[in-house]
């Protein structure tokens, strides 16, 4: 999937804010990318545009060769449903539905009957065996986040986006979640794009894209260590 010269501006005239200001970036199949940058640098906006949740005001976003800008609202939704999974920072589960029902929601929206075995497998994958019948308010934050990840994975999307998936979790739970994501990349050749503030979390990725003021300012690759990333980040902070 590819973003080319993507611009996303809010408001107009003197109050115009360009959250993204000409971002070009590729996410290759089977890679794990971390997006980092200071607060307000446009990370969430980038993710929303890439996932088709938001429409850029300029530039193109292509997923598997399809330009999202050419699609109508319904077509875009259908494409998103088939190819994109999204994990929000605040889990955003439907409170009225049980964990299993929340996970099965995308399938049902696509008009498919979820196979119970498949559901169990997905829940097991995120370590939630046996909790399927609980409603979100009966689950801890980490558990809710895992339900959200399971929901994003159930339709076997080409790309999984996660916006600060570990932001609200303790170190241990965070590590579990990150291992889970890494595992997906390694075993299922899943493409994962994750926004994070945490260098330790970013260290689980293959590549780190650094944003500042709506622009890509740097890319780190290879064997990433938390310290290197943290150092690069601190250099970036005063820049904004």
């Amino acid at each position: 999937m590819r973003l080319h010269e993507v611009v996303r501006a809010y408001g107009d005239g003197p109050r115009r804010v360009a959250a993204l200001d000409g971002v070009t970036v590729d996410f290759d199949r089977g890679t794990f990318t971390a997006v980092m940058g200071p607060s307000g640098s446009g990370k969430s906006t980038l993710l929303h545009c890439a996932a088709g949740l938001d429409r850029p005001t300029g530039g193109t976003v292509t997923i598997d060769g399809t330009d999202l800008g050419t699609l109508g609202e319904t077509a875009l939704t259908l494409l998103r449903r088939a190819r994109v999974g999204f994990v929000f920072q605040s889990y955003n589960l439907v409170p009225a539905l049980t964990a299993a029902q929340n996970v099965a929601l995308p399938l049902r929206l696509a008009g498919r009957r979820p196979d119970p075995a498949e559901l169990d497998a997905t829940l097991a994958e995120v370590g939630l065996t046996g909790r399927g019948r609980h409603r979100p308010d009966e689950l801890s934050g980490g558990e809710q986040q895992r339900v959200a990840i399971a929901r994003a994975l159930i339709s076997r999307p080409a790309v999984l986006f996660a916006d600060e998936p570990t932001g609200a979790l303790d170190t241990r739970t965070s590590r579990d979640i990150l291992r889970l994501l890494r595992d997906l990349v390694d075993r299922h050749r899943q493409t994962v794009v994750m926004v994070t503030h945490d260098p330790v979390a970013a260290a689980h990725a293959d590549r780190v894209v650094l944003l500042a003021d709506g622009r890509v300012v740097d890319e780190l690759g290879g064997d990433l260590a938390a310290e290197t990333i943290a150092a690069r980040m601190t250099r970036l902070e005063p820049a904004c």
């Binding site: 929303h48 938001d54 939704t77 929000f88 889990y91 409170p95 009225a96 539905l97 929206l109």
Partner: protein, 855 residues
Amino acid sequence: MLTLAALRARWTGLVGPFVALCLGVALMSMTALILVSAQPRVPDRYAGAAVLVAGPTVEGIPGTFHERRPWSPEQVAALTGRLAAIPAVTAAVPDRSFYAQAVLDGRPVGEPALADPQGHGWSSAALAPYRLTAGGPPERPDEVVLDQALGLAPGSPVTLLTATGPARYTVAGTLDGPGFYLADPVAAPLARGVRLIGLVLADGADRSAVRVAAEAVVGRDGTVLTGDGRAEVEPPRDVRTRWIGMQVLTAMTALAGFVSIFLVASTFAFGVAQRRREFGLLRAVGATPGQLRRLMYTEALTVGAVGAAVGAVLGTACAPAFGAVLVDAGFQPAGFRVRLAPWPPAAAYLVGLVVALLGVWAASRRAGRVRPLEALREAVVDRRPMTRSRWIGGIVSTGGGLLLTVLLAGAGPDDIVNYALYASMALTAGLTLLAPVLVPPLTYALTWPLERLPGATGMLVRRNALTAVRRTASTSAPMLLTVGFAVLIAGSVATSTGAYASRDAGAIRAGSVLVPAGTPGLSDAAVATVAGTTLLPSTVYAEPADGALSGAVGDAGCTGGGCDRADGTGTAGGVPVVAAGVEPTGFARVNGRLDVLSGDFAAFGGPETTVVTAGLAERLGWSAGSGVGVGYPDGTSGIVRVVAVVADGSVPVEMLFPREVIRAHDPSALTEAVFTAGAAGNGNEDSGTGNGGVDFRAALGARLVTVSEYAAERDAAEDRLVWLATLILIAVSAGYTAIALANTLLMATAHRARELLVLLRSGATVRQVLATVAAESALVVAIGTALGLLVPLVALLAIRSALSEQFGVPVDVVVPGPTIGLVVTGCLVLALAASVLPARLVLRAGPGGGGHRVE
């Protein structure tokens, strides 16, 4: 699954549409059942006669209902003889009726309608299915057979009031049905013209053969009715009652249908506004806009299907009781009964579903437009409460409403009500749309004292209302509607009734008026108790001018059978004319509004003179100086001369005759009022109390009142119906908007669970939080009331200027204080219940918030 779960989680938002649809469908089922049941019935009094021969029909102006025209005495004799000669007819009985009422314990009882006289000749009893339960038929002139329900045994004395006055009779027997039956020779001189001859047939007689034979006898002089067709002779009063009832019911149902759509639409719209997050989330995990629209439709249909089904069952179950209420209220004739049938509720059910779908239409479109990212935003603070379309709609509606109000101030009497209604609708819509602009300053003003209070409640209430402007606006909108319409309807009825009364009172130059009390009119004996000038109403039948009599009029032509004239007797049709007998000089003295357009009122007085209104003269092609053919209520006819034409509305009827003429031709007629020079109730010899404190006027069914009382009480029955209709309409609209108010508050409170818990967590006690919630609801009611009073006030001021312009008398705006009080109190109670109870439920879990960790 999704819909079911959503329904369970969202019951607060669905209660309103459910109740609205349920009530709407119940109302529609009841109305539909009553509509199909409200068919003419064969009057009991004629149910014993297999074949009825009725006099010729007459054509009045549309919306008026008239009895058939009576035959002349000669015709009655001839017809009766020839009808009785038909084989298998055992008796041909002319129905002779006259006004009669029993006086028990010094009071006339069981006020009969003027057009439904209760006195009959004994032979008429054969037409009814009633049976003698005791005693025998009346034989001597002073004997009477009457209803056993009066509790009088044969042999006991009884006083009967007839058009001449009270007279003493002895009970000869009792019947198991209503009426007073005198011996035929006694009844004949009391009775009005014969309009009906009943044929009693021998057992096993061939009805259709009799019918054919009777038709041959009657020819064009009447109609032969058999079987259910006999229902045609039901009293015109019943036809009118049913007609009025249908008008009211249809208006009520149309209103209920409209308000149901409005309510379903507004609650669903409010629901969508509140569920943007949820919808955004669904969109984010892959729901298409179409799926969200379908979700809304499914919700509406589910609620509609259940609500409408409950409503249809409820309506069917309540229809019989409702029918009885309508009879009591005077909206259905006595004896009306609801017949249950399956299709009216079924039709109402389908209409209910359509209403649900129409109501959800706009909301579903909005739901489909929610974008996925809206799941991520908190939207409690309304940054842009006013959208552009809202501005445009609000300004256009308000402007249109004000324009209509200006037009209203100069409108004629017929347009006042329409203009007032449209103006108020436009103003209401405009204010509702502009509410987000009007609410903050109003809230500022209304809550200004609150922030000065020491506690936190005042501050919280004020800040919450100011922050969530749109929520405050939409929760107070139903209140605006309720108050606006209730005050408008009640106020305009009261204002115009008052105006008409003061106009009428201004036009009567008399000290006091003798009016009927417990009777449909005054007998001659009652009239004789005071000196004054009288008004004796009756109905005459005019032959439209055919040029044969005066030559003053061109060829106005005849319509239908209206011109069949033989030997000076009106034989068919004719135009019914509301007439009255008066004393010419006295009438001219009392009537301050008399406006003679042509001719000479002073020439009015001889037995062959008449005065007509301009409208009637134009309708019939008459003018001053014309000799015109008139059929009298006893069936005879004659020619009278029009001596004067007066302006419409300057006399209370269409045609004036000297009193003696009406008295002579309508023995059963009753005087409507006697205008006297003396003042009423000043305690001296005119107080109406004779020796020993017995109120002799009351025994005669009369009462002396002031002119303004008379003017206010005139058409009291009519006013009562208008008031009842008004109340029903207010109740329906106020009831619905009250449901809307309760429901939006319920939804808003349930939706604010987290906010309330935050308050609790910041150290407020449950009592404090509940007080805040209650105060906020009271504020919403206050804002709605303040805005709601604006609309009718503007409209009422315009109505006042229109009326006082017209009548040339100052008219007071009547602000219906009790109605306002009742409506506001009711809404307040409901609003408090709908917000405080759910808030209690939310807070019961304590600051930890139980199940509310996830919003």
